[in-house]
Amino acid sequence: MTRTNGQSRNFLKGMAFLSPWLVGFLVFMLLPIGLSLYYSVCDYSILQPPVFCGWDNYRLLLFHDDLFWQVMRNTAYYAVLVLPLGLVASLGAALLLNRKVPGQSIFRTIVFLPSLVPLVASAIVWMWIYNQKLGLLNAIIRMLCVPPNALLRLLHLPQFSPIQPPWIVDARWVIPALVLMTVWGMGNQVIIYLAGLQDVPRELYEAADLDGANSFRKLIHVTLPMISPVIFFNLVTMMIWVLQVYDAPFIISGGTGGPNHASYLMSMYLYDEGFFYLRMGYASAIAWMQLLIIVAMTAAAFWTSRRWVYYQGK
C-alpha cells in the first residue's frame, strides 16, 4: 500500500517532534526494558551474570509462592480502599478550595503541603499519630467520645469505652492506617482537580440555576460530568501509583512489611526480592506480572471510560 505524500510528510514531521522522546527511549529505556524481560526468565543475582532458567521464576511465583498471593491480596485491599477514598477526598478538597474565600491561596498551599514534607519527617509524625496509647488519632477518638458519654451518664445509661484501634501494629488495621496516610499526601491530585474545576463553563451553572437546581444537583449533573476527564486522568495515575507505592508502607512497618506481612505491598516485595535477597530474576518476573495487571486495569478503565467520561470538545 502506497503512502500518500501527505501521510509520509506527516510521518517525518511526527518523528521529528517525537525525536527527543524517541532518542531517550532508545538509549535509556529500551535496553533496560528488554533486559528486564530477559532477567525474568533467568536466575539473576545482580552480582553474577544472569543464567537462563526458563519459566522457573514464573512457575514458582504463580504456583508455589504464598507470599506473592498475600502481597496481591494486600495490594488489592489497599487499592479498594485508597482509590475511592482518594478520589472522593481530593475531589472534595478541590471543591472546597474552589470557593472564593479570603485566604484561598493560603488554604491551597496548606493542602498541598503534605506532599512536600520530606519522608524522614513525616515518618516519625505518623508513627506518633498512630500510636495506640499515646498517639494523636486515638486521643481524638477519645475526645470525640466524651460528649456522647457525658450524655449517657446524664441519662444514667451505661457508657461505652472508646475504641482505640492498635493501628499499625495490628494486621487488620495497618492497611487502613496506610490508606489514611497516603490520602493525606495527595496534594498533586487536588491541584489537578482544581485546574479542571476552573474549566466548567459558567453558563451551565447559570442554566441550572434557572432550572431551580440546588447545589447538590448542580454537582451531580453539571460539575461531575464536565470534569470526568480529569477524574479519569487521576484514576489512571492513581492505579499506576498503587502498585508502585513504596515509602509509606516501608516507614509504617519499619521496613518489615508487617505485622506478619500485612502491610507488604507489591513494590516492597519486588524491591526486597531484587535488592535484599539478590533474586533479581524473580523480581523481574514479579515486575512483569505487575505490568500485566496494570495494563489490564488501565485497559479496563479506558474501555469503561466511554460510558462515563465526557469530553467537552467532541
Partner: protein, 275 residues
C-alpha cells in the same frame, strides 16, 4: 459553612507540618516530653541557625548542587516534553497510537528492575565516550532532557484542547509546523508548562534514590542526602535539628508553589485538562 470545611481540611493537612515546626523549636530536654508539648516553651529559634551552621551541615553546598540539578531538569523536561507532546497531540501520522501506548507503558514499569541496566548504560557511556557519567550530576538531569512520560501525557492532554482552527489558520498563512508550535501553541500553553516545570523541580529537589545511586562524593550531595547528616542509626538523632533542617529544605518549594498558584490553576482553566 465552607470555611468550616476548609478549616477542618487544613487542620488535618497541616498537623504533621505543625508538629515538624514545633519539634524544630524545642530544646533538647523537652524533646522527650510525654505528652509532647505542641507549642514549645522555651522556643529555641537558634535551632535553625545551629542546623545551618552545624559542622556536619553544608547547606550552601547542598543547595547549590540541588539547585543546579533541579533547574536543569525542569528546563529540560519542559522543553523536550512539550515538543514530544505536540507531536502526539497535533500531528496525525501512522503509528502514533502505538508509540503513545508504548510511552504510557514506560510509566508503568517498576523502577527497581530498570535500575541496574540503566546504571550499566551510564557506565558504558562513561567508558566509551570519554565523558564521565557515574559520579557526576549528569545521570540526574540529562534524562529529563529527553522527555518524561508523565509530563508528555499531561501536556498532550492539554494541547489537544487547543482548537485546530488556530493551527489551520497559521498553516494557510504559510507557517511551518515548528512555527505553529513555537508561535501559536506554546504561548497558549504557558500555565501547563508552568505546572510541568514546577512539579518536576519539586520532584527532583526531593529525590534521593537517583542521587544516592549515582553520586560518589560527599561534596556532590543534594539536600535530601545532606539531611542524613542529622540522623543516626545506633546513636542519638537530634530531632529538633533534623526537623529544622527539613523545614529549611522544603521552604523554597512552599514559597514557589504559593507564588505560582495563580498562574497555573486559573490559567490552565481557559482550556483545561481534557481531551
Amino acid at each position: 459553612m465552607t470555611y468550616l470545611g476548609l478549616l477542618a481540611v487544613s487542620a488535618i493537612a497541616l498537623m504533621p507540618f505543625l508538629w515538624m515546626i514545633s519539634t524544630s523549636l524545642k530544646t533538647d530536654e523537652h524533646l522527650s516530653d510525654y505528652p509532647p508539648q505542641l507549642v514549645p516553651v522555651p522556643t529555641q529559634w537558634v535551632n535553625y541557625k545551629n542546623a545551618v551552621m552545624s559542622e556536619k551541615a553544608k547547606f550552601p553546598l547542598w543547595t547549590r548542587n540541588t539547585l543546579i540539578i533541579a533547574v536543569l531538569a525542569a528546563l529540560g523536561t519542559t522543553a523536550s516534553s512539550s515538543i514530544a507532546a505536540y507531536g502526539f497531540a497535533k500531528i496525525r501520522f501512522p503509528g502514533r497510537g502505538l508509540l503513545f501506548a508504548i510511552m504510557l507503558g514506560t510509566m508503568m514499569i517498576p523502577f527497581p528492575t530498570l535500575m541496574v541496566p540503566q546504571f550499566n548504560i551510564f557506565e558504558w557511556l562513561g567508558s566509551h565516550t570519554g565523558i564521565p557519567w557515574i559520579g557526576t550530576f549528569r545521570p540526574l538531569w540529562v534524562p529529563w532532557w529527553f522527555g518524561s512520560a508523565f509530563n508528555i501525557f499531561l501536556l498532550r492532554q492539554f494541547f489537544m484542547t487547543i482548537p485546530d482552527e488556530l493551527s489551520e489558520a497559521a498553516r494557510i498563512d504559510g507557517c511551518n509546523e515548528w512555527g505553529i508550535f513555537w508561535r501559536i501553541v506554546l504561548p497558549l500553553a504557558r500555565p501547563a508548562l508552568t505546572v510541568v516545570a514546577l512539579f518536576t523541580f519539586m520532584f527532583v529537589w526531593r529525590d534521593f534514590l537517583a542521587p544516592r545511586i549515582y553520586l560518589q562524593h560527599p561534596s556532590q550531595y543534594t539536600l535530601t542526602l545532606g539531611l542524613q547528616a542529622f540522623q543516626a542509626q545506633n546513636g542519638f538523632t537530634p530531632w529538633n535539628l533534623l526537623m529544622a533542617a527539613s523545614v529549611l529544605v522544603i521552604a523554597p518549594l512552599i514559597v514557589l508553589f504559593f507564588m505560582a498558584q495563580k498562574t497555573f490553576i486559573e490559567g490552565i482553566a481557559t482550556t483545561g485538562l481534557k481531551g
